[in-house]
């Protein structure tokens, strides 16, 4: 019995390792080609209004009186020829709206809102007297997806981007993310940028002035995890139009397509769910549209620093993943949806969603085998080795990939620390996240709702 289980875990992991290796190779080739390319030249042309598509930036806000000013402030200074900022106050119970009114000198305006997506009632619309491209919508509480949909209804431009409360957007983020859309004559209908962890970086006035690494082991491990997910996973998947997550915090979508897809839905991971729906729509309407990912780090976000917050986050993420997958279960292994149905969905279902269960089983088997001793010791060692391969080795490779291609960390000691921390992943961090993700699965199965938001310290000085 134990032998059978051990063999199952072993072969499962070997299969996954092979898939990861494939993604790693694709990413390496892709990133290496663009190595040392000038940071600015390719985007210079896009500053001309006549060539670039305007973007509506949506900022949903629910009780964000502390952070909203900094977020909006940083958006006002981005480098992009034509854009508007739409803050949606989703029935906050604190002083978010008052704060906005005061800080940006808002006046009520009359606007005809084209209700293409159904939302909760909009109470009023305001415009800033200081910045003519800043608008605030005040609406009844309906959740994040509802707020985003209200923002889409109001927005005037053909592309929309949603931005989370406490993330910092690089000034050139929009030029970088919009480039594939403009370059492709709008064959690209969604484009996501890479997200990095801001803890440990110096941020002033909504701009990252120095990229550093936090001293906290938990944060360092998350940095490694992000490198692994973004550099390895998403580039590899994007290359073959298999991408299912545009990004948790930063993505631009074609408004027309989002509306056709029915807007954001009330799920935990509304971004991913929307991307799956867009893929579905692309396949069902038999068009040649694409969803891509830009490897440049363009958005910095605050990572949880305590175990409690991290655990909450991971449980929530995993539940979100489940909801998106379950909602679109018709696509699983369905040849009608081409590579998305046959590769992406199975990948997210078997590796991303169920992987933790197999991993947990692996850890349990290691412990049981050690207790039983004798011939079982061999199982324990074998399973441990394969988990090292599965966890630590790929994380180490991701850190090296970063240093070999993107090279965002300027100090040698940061890279050394990242490398040695990634070495320890299998020993403590990986088992922890596996456990939390399994808890997420239980939550999803029990349909447990509600989650505490993490306490934010604010990343900006």
């Amino acid at each position: 019995m134990i032998k059978l289980a051990a063999m199952f875990v072993f072969f499962f992991m070997i299969a996954v390792i092979l898939f990861y290796t494939f993604l790693l190779v694709v990413s390496f080739i892709q990133l290496r080609r663009m190595y040392e390319l000038d940071e600015w030249e390719p985007y210079e042309e896009m500053l001309d209004v006549s060539y670039t598509k305007p973007v509506s930036i949506l900022v949903p806000a629910y009780n964000e009186e502390a952070g909203i000013f900094a977020t909006v402030r940083s958006l006002l200074s981005i480098e992009y020829p034509e854009y508007e900022i739409v803050v949606i106050n989703d029935g906050s119970t604190d002083d978010t709206l008052e704060r906005l009114k005061k800080d940006f000198d808002l006046i009520p305006i009359k606007r005809v809102i084209r209700e293409q997506l159904k939302t909760k009632r909009v109470r009023a619309v305001y415009r800033s007297r200081k910045f003519s491209h800043l608008f605030v919508i005040d609406k009844e509480n309906g959740g994040k997806a509802d707020a985003l949909n209200a923002g889409i209804n109001f927005s005037t431009y053909p592309y929309v981007c949603s931005i989370d409360g406490d993330s910092v957007i690089e000034r050139r983020a929009f030029l970088k993310v919009m480039k594939p859309i403009v370059d492709s004559d709008e064959d690209v209908i969604a484009s996501g940028g890479s997200v990095r962890i801001a803890n440990g970086c110096d941020i002033e006035k909504g701009e990252v002035v120095r990229i550093g690494l936090s001293r906290q082991p938990l944060v360092i491990m998350q940095v490694i995890e992000y490198l692994r997910a973004f550099l390895m996973g998403r580039i590899g998947l994007s290359r073959h139009n298999l991408l299912l997550i545009v990004s948790g915090a930063f993505g631009v979508f074609s408004k027309q397509w989002v509306i056709r897809a029915g807007g954001y839905a009330h799920t935990v991971g509304e971004d991913m769910e929307l991307v799956v729906r867009l893929h579905r729509l692309i396949k069902e309407s038999k068009t040649n549209k694409k969803i891509v990912y830009v490897p440049d780090p363009v958005c910095w976000t605050e990572a949880p620093e305590s175990m409690t917050d991290l655990r909450k986050q991971r449980r929530r993420w995993h539940r979100g993943l489940f909801e998106s997958l379950w909602l679109h279960r018709r696509m699983w292994f369905n040849p009608r949806y081409g590579s998305i149905g046959l590769v992406s969905m199975p990948y997210f279902l078997l590796i991303e969603f169920l992987g933790p269960v197999v991993e947990l089983l692996g850890y349990i088997l290691i412990i049981v085998s050690l207790i039983l001793g004798d011939i079982y010791i061999e199982f324990a060692i074998l399973l441990f080795l394969v988990s090292v391969l599965y966890g630590s080795i790929f994380s180490m490779a991701a850190v090296l990939l970063e240093e070999w291609t993107v090279r965002k960390f300027s100090s040698v000691s940061d890279v050394v620390r990242l490398f040695f921390y990634s070495l320890t992943e299998t020993l403590w961090y990986r088992p922890l996240t596996v456990l939390w993700r399994c808890e997420g699965i239980v939550d999803a199965l029990l349909k447990r709702k509600g989650w505490g938001e993490m306490k934010r310290k604010g990343v900006s000085k």
């Binding site: 663009m34 390319l37 084209r114």
Partner: protein
């Protein structure tokens, strides 16, 4: 089982060793790189005053760069000055200097095995108008393993340098080129080549045709207005829509009877673009038609119609009247919105 275990242990140990080796290599490289960057910075500080006086007044001898750090330092500085001191004299002197010192360096970069390096060289050659490398660029264009990115950039440069064969090169472009690419190429052409492009309009593929129409508008190429007007009679609506959009950008006073035809088009995009032109040229005779379009079934047409009315000399009065008396709720709302926008701007 034991064999498997040994095999696996060996694999894991090998992988660890390989990763450690790569890690050591990268750390050493990073250290070296840091040193090199500091060297470049030192040279930049050294060259800055000399280069500034040379570019601004032309009365200084700039020493030839010898090492690659010196090359990079001087190129970065030149690039920086080009952006902040953009005037004719500065550009000319920068080009002279680049022609004198960087041509060999760039020639080597153009055949570098890494795409990033080759692209940077191309960008530099374009920014500094280094025509003397044109033969190298031609040779590069003929290469089979050229990437689309390089191909696009090369064509941009041929257009900029008014290369005699740019027209032929355009014919050889493949499917991977987008309208956006063509627009960039067209934007760099001189009038003579552009005229040739327009003269052979219907020989081009659809993407180039659309790009030509758009560029006439964007670059306000008045001599081609008559061509745009012939397109207004084209049976395909896409040509009519784009021609109207270009005319709107030029603000060409199209006669009202012609414009009326487009305002009544069954294609809503055509009505929209015709209204956009109305907003620019304020045709008094068409006020009634525009008023009717505030009730159009398409949202963006209604909005554009209200804007066009607002732009009329008595726009506020017209919109007030609609807001008060129209039998269409949407039209009233739209009129109110634009009234407010109009008053804000007063």
């Amino acid at each position: 089982m034991s064999n498997q275990l040994v095999l696996f242990t060996v694999i894991v140990i090998i992988l660890f060793t390989v990763l450690f080796a790569i890690f050591l290599y990268l750390v050493v490289r990073k250290r070296k790189d840091g040193k090199w960057k500091r060297e470049v910075e030192t040279y930049k500080q050294l060259y800055e005053p000399v280069l500034f006086r040379y570019l601004a007044y032309g009365d200084e001898q700039v020493p030839a760069p010898l090492s690659s750090a010196q090359h990079v330092a001087m190129m970065e500085l030149l690039d920086h000055f080009m952006r902040v001191l953009a005037n004719g004299g500065v550009k000319e002197r920068a080009t002279t200097l680049a022609e004198m010192y960087f041509v060999d360096y760039l020639r080597a970069q153009l055949v570098h095995r890494r795409l990033g390096r080759r692209m940077n060289a191309l960008f530099f050659i374009e920014d500094f108008h280094l025509r003397s490398l044109i033969h190298e660029l031609e040779a590069m264009y003929e290469q089979k393993q050229l990437t689309t990115m390089e191909k696009r950039q090369l064509l941009n440069m041929f257009a900029l340098f008014q290369h005699p064969h740019v027209y032929e090169y355009m014919k050889q472009t493949d499917e991977s080129f987008t309208q956006f690419d063509y627009r960039l190429i067209l934007s760099r052409m001189d009038d003579h080549t552009f005229v040739k492009m327009v003269d052979h309009f219907f020989d081009w593929n659809e993407k180039i045709r659309y790009a030509i129409i758009d560029m006439i508008g964007i670059m306000q190429k008045l001599p081609h207005v008559s061509f745009l007007r012939t397109l207004l009679r084209h049976e395909q609506s896409e040509y009519r829509i784009r021609a109207l959009k270009a005319l709107a950008e030029i603000a060409f006073p199209l006669d009202s009877e012609q414009l009326r035809i487009h305002l009544h088009s069954p294609v809503w995009q055509e009505r929209l673009m015709a209204l956009r032109l109305c907003a620019r040229i304020r045709p008094y005779e068409l006020v009634e038609t525009m008023k009717a379009l505030v009730k159009d079934r398409v949202f963006s047409v209604r909005s554009q119609a209200a804007e066009a009315l607002l732009r009329m000399p008595n726009g506020l009065a017209i919109l007030e009247q609609i807001a008060r008396t129209s039998d269409d709720r949407y039209a009233r709302d739209m009129a109110l919105e634009w009234l407010e926008r109009g008053r804000e701007n007063d």
